[in-house]
Every structure is written in C-alpha cells, then in structure tokens.
C-alpha cells in the first residue's frame, strides 16, 4: 500500500465560519495506481490534493492521518513537511503554468529548486536532460524563460520538474484543463508514461473531466460536497456506478456519438449545498431521486465489493 488516508478533515477559516471543504476522507492508493479524482467544482478536490502536501494559511487541519509508504506525514506542520515535499510527495498545482517564475530561466529555476533540497544541479542534470527529451522537448528549453513556451510545452516541463526526484506520490491538479484537445491528449499520455517509467509510484489525477480519467486512470474516486461518494476501478465507475450522484453525473456527459436528436441527455437538477453549513445526513439528499427516510443519517463510505466503496444507503442495501 503506498498511500493511506484516514478520516482526513481540513476546513477553511472564513469570517462567516468554517467551510467544511474536506470532511472525513478515508481511502488508499496502491503502488502503481493512478487514481482519478472527480466531482463538480467546489466539491473539495483541490483541498484534498493540497492537504496531502501543503496547508496554506487559511486551511485548518481538523483531524485525520496520512500515511505514505509507512511514514506518517505531518501535514499539519509546514516545516515538518519540508522533508517529504517534492522528494516523497509532489504536486502540480492547478494553474501551475502561470505560476512559474517569469524572470528565471527554466534551468536556473530547477537548479535552485533541487539545491533547496540539498541536491546539486550537476547531480541531476543528465537525468533532467533525459526526461526533457522523453517528453518531446528540446534540451534548449532549459535556457529559455517560461513565457517563451507554449501552454502544452510549459505543462510538460512542469511535469518533468515536479517528478524529478522520483516522488512516491504525484498529485496533478487539472493539468489538462486549459489545453486544446490534441495537446491535452499528449499531456495526459505523458502522465501515464511517468508512472510506467517509474518516475512516480502512484498518482492522483484531479479533473472535472471524467472522460480524461477514462483514458488515464486505473481507479476513480468521486467526491460530492466535501465527502467521498464512490471509489472503484475506472471501468466500474463508468459502466456500473452505484452511487446515484455518480450515475447521474456519468449519464449527463455528452460524448462523441451521442446527439440531442437521438438521445436527449439530462442534467442533475439543483446545485450542491453550501459547505459553510452543510446539511446533516447524506449531502446529496436534496438532489437525490432515491432519497428516503434513512438518508437523514449520514451514510458511511464502505466497501461493498472488492475494490468498490460507496457512501449511499440505497447502494449498500440498507433500505429494507
């Protein structure tokens, strides 16, 4: 087992109160597993990804634990995490491309980054060159400034940098979202190849686009309103989902071949609840066509088959 997250809770402090963005997540990721993380915007995907690596000033650790390869990660402790960040667990944040320092040549920036981790640039230079070449970039990119690179080139460069020290876990947050289709495909396939080459052991790929996950992920975890809804192998989530939210989400997606004239798709009525004062019981209750009395209690996220977990009273057969 490479990652084990147990009952993790991380809230945002605001003047109006705590935003319960991640409210009790328990799941694990195996060696070599690429886990996709999907759900509507605002459901807590980035919060989950970021909390495994860096809690910013506004994030409040409430409870729970994160264990990576047998080591407890001190995620509530900024300095304590230094030892793990980038070496053991690395993130490609949402909007990473625009966050690259524009005044530094890319090679120089990488030098500073590895040196801050006590590794000399010379030591990693040949491996860096090899990986730059592997993602289809010219070695010369290291002598260029970030703004001289196209969106797709920048995104590939960010991927090379964040995995340079072979971290055990990589979190890729919406890395394909701002790209055109052909670039998107190249970037997604590069992610998979990094796992295949062993540059990272396992990966969390965050996206709101489930079809990208069908192409790249081994398993998919669906979140809803700060909670985990369902986790299963990719094929199961797409073809035989059990949680009503997953079902409605998958069946609302237009894909090539589906036309309005022949098959009219329907959306999910209503919108997700506020996480400032989330409803008690199942958070999907107000939008769920199957809701019944029991749903006033919170459904636990439990295993109902090998590799298949779900948080729904109906799906777990508790409606008798």
């Amino acid at each position: 087992m490479s990652l084990q997250v147990t009952d993790l809770r991380v809230y945002y402090r605001t003047l109006a109160g705590d935003v319960k963005a991640l409210d009790g997540a328990t799941f694990s990721i195996a060696d070599k597993e690429i886990m996709g993380l999907a759900g509507e915007s605002g459901c807590g995907k980035s919060t989950l990804g970021n909390s495994l690596i860096r809690l910013d000033g506004r994030m409040k650790y409430i409870g729970g634990s994160v264990n990576l390869d047998g080591n407890e990660l001190p995620i509530w402790d900024q300095t304590g995490m230094n030892e793990f960040r980038f070496k053991q667990v690395s993130v490609i944040p949402q909007y990473a491309m625009s966050a690259m320092n524009p005044t530094r040549k890319i090679g120089k920036m990488i030098g500073e980054l590895v040196e801050s981790r006590g590794i000399s640039y010379e030591e990693i230079k040949s491996e860096l060159d090899r990986r730059v070449d592997l993602v289809g970039l010219d070695e010369d990119v290291l002598n260029r400034y970030p703004m001289e690179l196209s969106g797709g080139m920048k995104q590939r460069m960010v991927m090379v940098i964040s995995t340079l020290l072979d971290p055990s876990l990589l979190i890729a947050d919406e890395v394909t979202s701002a790209l055109d289709v052909s670039t998107q495909r190249a970037v997604a396939e590069t992610l998979v190849s990094f796992r295949d080459h062993g540059f990272v052991k396992s990966m969390i790929v965050i996206t709101h686009d489930v079809s990208i996950l069908y192409q790249t992920a081994d398993t998919i975890l669906i979140m809803y309103a700060g909670k985990l809804a369902e986790k299963a192998p990719t094929k199961t989530i797409i073809e035989k989902p059990l949680h009503p939210y997953t079902r409605m989400l998958i069946s609302s997606l237009p894909e090539v071949g589906v036309r309005y004239e022949t098959k009219k798709l329907v959306g999910i009525p209503g919108s997700p609840p506020s996480l400032l004062n989330p409803p008690t019981g199942c958070r999907f209750r107000a939008r769920c066509p199957l809701a019944f009395a029991k749903c006033a209690e919170e459904p636990p996220f439990i295993k109902i088959a090998n590799d298949h977990e779900v948080a729904c009273w109906k799906a777990t057969g508790s409606d008798a």
Binding site: P254, V258, Y260
Partner: protein, 320 residues
C-alpha cells in the same frame, strides 16, 4: 438566414500597426432558421473573430456577411438597434457580463430602457417571466439577487433569457458551456436545442467536439482561420476526411473508447476508401503543395453535405 461569403479578417499588429495578422481567411458557410451550426477549432483559430464580425463588434476586412439578405456591414444608424433586436451574442465567461455591485437582473432593466421604454410594468414583468420560463429559471430564484449569489449556470441562463426578451432570431453562443460544470452543461445545451426547435438560428462556437457533436446539425472545422472541413455533423464526425479533423477527433477523450481504439478505427476507414482519401479522389494531387485556387485548396464535395479542403495536398500525409 445568416450567410458568410468569403469572409476574411486581418488584424493590424506591431508597434505602428504595420503588420497584418490574417485571423480569418475566406470563410463561407450558412446558418439556416431552426439550425445549430457548430464552429469548432482550437484556441486562436479565429472562432471568436467570426462571432464578433457577425455581431458587428468588429469590421469585416474582406467578403460579406448577410442576415436575411441584408448586408450586415451596411447596417448603420437606427438600423443597428433593430439588428440587435434579432441578433445577439452570449459569451464564455458569464461573470464578466455582470457588474458585481449591481443586482444580476440589471441586465434585464437595461434592455427595457433601451428597447421597451413605453411598456407598462405589468406587461414587462410578464415578458420577463416568459423569458425566464424559456430558460427554466424560477423568478424568485434569480431576480433581486447579486451575481455572487447565483451559480455560473444560472448566470449563463439569465444571459440567454436577456436575449429572449428581444425578438431574437439568431444567437451567437461563444464557448458558453466551457465554464460550467458537467451537471449544468447539459441543461444549457438542451436549452439551446429547444430554442433551435422553435426556429432560432444558432452559431455554436466551441473547442469541445463532443458538445458540438451533441447539439449541431452542421459542423464547420476551422484551422488557423481557414475552414478545412464542413458539412452535416454526422458526416463530419462519422467520416472525418481532412487529416486535421482526424487528429482532432482521435484526440477527444471519449467515455467508452480509449484513444488508441478511436485512432485505429479512423485509420481503418474514416475517409479512406481503399487507401485513397475522399478528397484526393475528387481532387487528385499534382505533387505541389498549396495547389488550388489562390494559395489554398478549394473546398471539394466528397459526399452529399460534406466538404473538405485539404492542406496536405501533395505532401504525402494521406495515401493518395
């Protein structure tokens, strides 16, 4: 109803406007009443430029656009207002169309003072209610609210409702779905399809092929300002013939087919009959690149309702 006839747009660029950038070149297509035409291309291909020319927001450099037979460029003075009564646009980012310090329904009152200053309060309220019903919004959900109190989907639907307050015949929808979540995306798409069923003509601009495929009867594929393939949507998607269209279609992430499978299928038959490209069958290559009228190959009819202009003529990419 809307007809583009060899439309080009050259932007002046450089310090003194001394250089020209050909953003759109020689584009011709029609949109009929009760028809959705999707204009598909990657970023920078000229989609928004075409939308803006239709909406008279920028000048047409060459060629002409006619609406119900009237030359759009020639509409001046008071006639412009009548044009906007019938032709409107909705753009990508719903938030940027609202001023956060005013209530969202101010976009309606502005239409009232501009177009219906004489109308009585009760007639106006009834008109607003009809328009809101047309986009499936409840008045008390959305009226009297500030933009931040509404979701992206609600704001986007309000903008469509605003357009409906006029005697709208034609809508330019420029990437209006991209900012929305999966579950509300399909509602806005279905809404456009219903407007089309009621006789509206819609130019649906998108970089997302699956959205275009779902909603449109006709598809225009744009590459670097030039139409490379167009025709009935099922033909363009079912039998992609231009190499660029093939790349686009094989890069779209699908939900039930892996990239490699789609690519294999397209290689196997998509447009190639016994190894001969449909375009080249009609237009045998002479070995010179850029063969055809001007510096671009002509659009050739490869089957009913399906036209292709091949850029790679003579460059050996297709097995001609």
């Amino acid at each position: 109803m809307l007809s583009l006839n060899r439309v080009s747009k050259f932007y002046k660029i450089g310090t003194f406007g001394g250089k020209e950038l050909a953003a759109v070149r020689d584009v011709s297509f029609d949109v009929n009443r009760g028809e959705v035409v999707s204009l598909i291309g990657e970023s920078g291909s000229g989609k928004t430029t075409i939308g803006k020319m239709v909406l008279k927001l920028i000048e047409i450099s060459r060629g002409s656009i006619t609406f119900d037979g009237t030359d759009v460029a020639g509409i001046k003075g008071g006639a412009v207002k009548s044009y906007y009564r019938e032709v409107q646009g909705v753009f990508q980012d719903p938030f940027s169309s609202y001023n956060p310090i005013f209530k969202a329904d101010r976009v309606f009152t502005m239409i009232r003072s501009e177009y219906y200053p004489e109308m009585s309060r009760s007639d106006w309220d009834a008109k607003v209610e009809t328009a809101l019903a047309g986009v499936s919004l409840e008045p008390d959900q959305v009226l009297n609210k500030y933009p931040h109190q509404l979701s992206g989907g609600q704001l986007q639907r309000l903008l469509v409702a605003r357009a409906l307050l006029l005697d709208l015949k034609f809508l330019v929808a420029d990437e209006i779905i991209s900012m929305l979540d999966a579950s509300t995306r399909i509602d806005v798409l279905n809404l456009l399809a219903e407007l089309k069923d009621r006789g509206m003509g819609i130019l649906f601009i998108t970089h997302d092929l699956s959205l275009g495929n779902y909603i449109s009867q006709k598809t225009v594929i744009l590459r670097r300002g030039v139409v490379v393939e167009m025709g009935a949507t099922d033909k363009v998607f079912g039998n992609p013939t231009h190499p660029y269209t093939k790349v686009l279609i094989s890069s779209v992430p699908q939900l039930h087919k892996k990239w490699a499978e789609v690519e294999a299928e397209i290689q196997a038959h998509g447009g190639d009959h016994d190894g001969v490209c449909l375009y080249h069958e009609a237009y045998p290559p002479t070995g010179q690149a850029g063969d055809g009228p001007g510096d671009r190959p002509a659009m050739v009819k490869v089957e009913d309702d399906h036209f292709v202009g091949c850029f790679d003529l003579g460059q050996g990419i297709c097995k001609a």
